[in-house]
Amino acid sequence: MNTTAIVVFLVLFAFVTVLGFYASSWRRGDLSVLHEWGLAGRQLGTFITWFLLGGDLYTAYTFVAVPALVFGAGALGFFAVPYTIIVYPFVFAVLPRLWSVAHAKGYITAADYVKARFESRGLALAVAVTGILATMPYIALQLVGMQAVLQVLGITGTGFLGRDLPLIIAFAILAVYTYTSGLRAPALVAVVKDTLIYITIIAAVILIPAHLGGFGHIFALSQAHLKSLPKPGSTLLAPKAYAAYATLALGSAVALFFYPHALTAVFSTSSRQVVRRNAAFLPLYSLMLGFIALLGYMAIAAGVHVPGTDTNLAVPLLFQKEFAPWFFGLASAAILIGALVPAAIMSIAAANLFTRNIYKEYFAPGATPQQEAGVAKVVSLVVKLGALVFVLGIPLQFSIYLQTLGGIWILQTVPMIVGSLYTRWFHRSALLLGWLVGMVVGTAMAASVQFKSSLVAVFGVLGYAGIWALILNLAVVVVLTLALNAARVHNGVDATADADYEADSVTA
């Protein structure tokens, strides 16, 4: 327990709490309608969007788990870097079209879009359910990142309440200001979060290697340590891991922006040009992520020992060991706030999906925008409560398994969302069946390795299960589309026009 670190930590936490509540009056809008509460009025510019998306995609769990993987396995954990390199050229080419059609037609979720494109409630439900299922464990993992920090700070006590109370309090505060301020709260808090994260990482990358005798020495120690592990790792890839490394990077990159929380941030921007510009500027976060991954090796070289196999504690323990107490407090606050921002956006995104595509679609077709916002606010609370119960009541490993599955599942919605942005050739029934096949096969593949990893060998090639399932998904879609189109089966009425995909706002 370190008083200086805890005081710095609490002051910063109090500051973002005030900011979260103040956010409700920032760029004031009528928060009783859904596009104001859940998309911050679609008015975020390049600068705020950069922070919002950065805070949204590079989560506390990322900061803890990526170096933890490097710490425990070596080079394979670095796949996060090619992943976050190639995601942006992809986003630059594809997402402006989705932004445009959503803006022109007033869509709030990806499910709104596929429903209109194919006149298909089935596809919309598939997108909504997949999105909600994949998001829930992701929120739970943000709590895991918070717990790692609180534990190393020494704020947590013993016993059921003592251990979990700080986490519950932090999360309850987050839930209340998300309820009152909607997406405006994480948008403002993200600016503080990322400033703290950048300060922490720049300091870590300058100070720690110098203190540990330079990167050459760090890598030499790491290589020796990884070789000695019961399951040996290395600072370079084994040739049989090449396909795994590349397919993990590719699959993760293609899936990332079709998570509901990523699309919510994209749809909240004020113009198509904001999306294009951010694809060019967001890689600054990827550079930071690369250095964060290297923290795993620094932890090895610094002689950090984690209790049991809990490698998630590697980075917080490294910071505690290498930083002055006040700076350790700041770094801890950075990671904890780094969990609050994505948790808020994820719960808003899940709430938007539930409200638009399940509640309004199946239970209250006549719901007004005010009723929609009311339901979404309550759902955002329920989602967070669910994640909390999940983390406190179910073994941690289960959340990690589910999050692995989440990535595989989200990939299966890519053919219907991305494919349809360019052509109306695909048949809606083929897309739905392809999705179903991909979901079942992807899940079965992960189950075949007891969910311990997302890597599965197909014809002797070890690769990411999400990519294998996607290939099968696409094969089903193409073959069935050919058959259904040949048989002239009705393919729904398209509510969008070609021009909608190029539309921009006046302010561009």
Binding site: R42, I85, F92, A241, A249
Partner: protein, 81 residues
Amino acid sequence: MVRRSASAGGSRWWYLLLLLPFVATLLPPIYNRATPALAGLPFFYWYQLAWVVVSALITLLVYALTPERPEARGTERGKGR
């Protein structure tokens, strides 16, 4: 009001440049080496970190080469219905 963003000069072919980062990073055999090291970082690491920057510059270049000029297109902006 919604405007249509017509490409204002600049060929769509420039988008093909965006494939370069994929080729450079999705083929690990071309960079899975320890040497030459840079400031103690094995080639594997600094090569990929360098591509973060190169890829961002390529994206920025394509952004600059494919300017979009908004044109009026008289439909109502449908804010979240």
